[in-house]
């Protein structure tokens, strides 16, 4: 089963959320990363995300599998956009269900932190003043 995926087009959250419905789940924690209109003091017009798809999917699945090992959760999903995104658009979504909220919050945080740190996806920012730049933090 694929818990992590890349989406080259805008994706809806509702079907992802409903796939996690479970009568045992008392807690659901979610994170949305969206395109901000500024970064480090510069006005941003939009973004482009590029992924090394094969490796990103494998590494994303690994992150989700680690979340299952570390936290007492019922299920988890993560989807990351690729391509061109406008301000306010959804870049990444993480959703986690658990019986209790400690595990749901901790796993949700773990997934977004590890995805940002390890999964081969790169952001190119487009600036309001002109110019674009790859972010390689």
């Amino acid at each position: 089963m694929s818990r992590f995926s890349l989406s080259p087009k805008p994706f809806g959250i509702a079907p992802l959320r409903h796939a996690l419905d479970d009568g045992r789940a008392g807690a659901f924690a979610a994170f949305e990363g969206r395109v901000r209109n500024h970064n480090e003091g510069r006005a941003v017009d939009g973004l482009h995300y590029e992924a090394y798809a094969a490796l990103a999917e494998a590494e994303g699945e690994r992150v989700l599998a680690e979340a299952f090992e570390r936290f007492d959760i019922l299920d988890a999903r993560c989807v990351h956009r690729t391509g061109d995104l406008a301000i306010g658009e959804l870049a990444v979504w993480v959703g986690v269900t658990a019986a209790h909220r400690d595990a749901a919050f901790a796993a949700c945080r773990y997934v977004i932190d590890e995805v940002k740190a390890r999964v081969p996806i790169w952001k190119r920012e487009r600036y309001a003043e002109g110019g674009e730049d790859w972010q390689h933090p």
Binding site: Y52, A56, A91, K116, P120, K123
Partner: protein
């Protein structure tokens, strides 16, 4: 000598001007191979800031360059 396919992403692709290329090299390791490509394309990123993958899986810089393999250099990521 080994002939390999190299994949470039993000700023490396911009610098190389191509998303992938077929390269013949006498480098003994992936580390040495990147040094050759860095010189050729003028990559700004030093090897310490990259990871390397072979055949879609992370690899070690000290691994040997193997004929026919697909090698990707992974700049610091910025998803999320």
């Amino acid at each position: 000598m080994a002939r390999v396919t190299v994949l470039y992403f993000a700023s490396l692709r911009d610098a190389a001007g191509v998303a992938s290329e077929s390269v013949q090299s006498d480098a003994g390791t992936l580390r040495g191979f990147y040094a050759q490509l860095r010189e050729r394309h003028g990559f700004a990123l030093p090897v310490e800031r990259l990871r390397v993958a072979v055949g879609g899986a992370f690899a070690s810089w000290d691994d040997a360059l193997r004929e026919g393999s697909e090698i990707a250099f992974i700049p610091p990521v910025s998803g999320g």
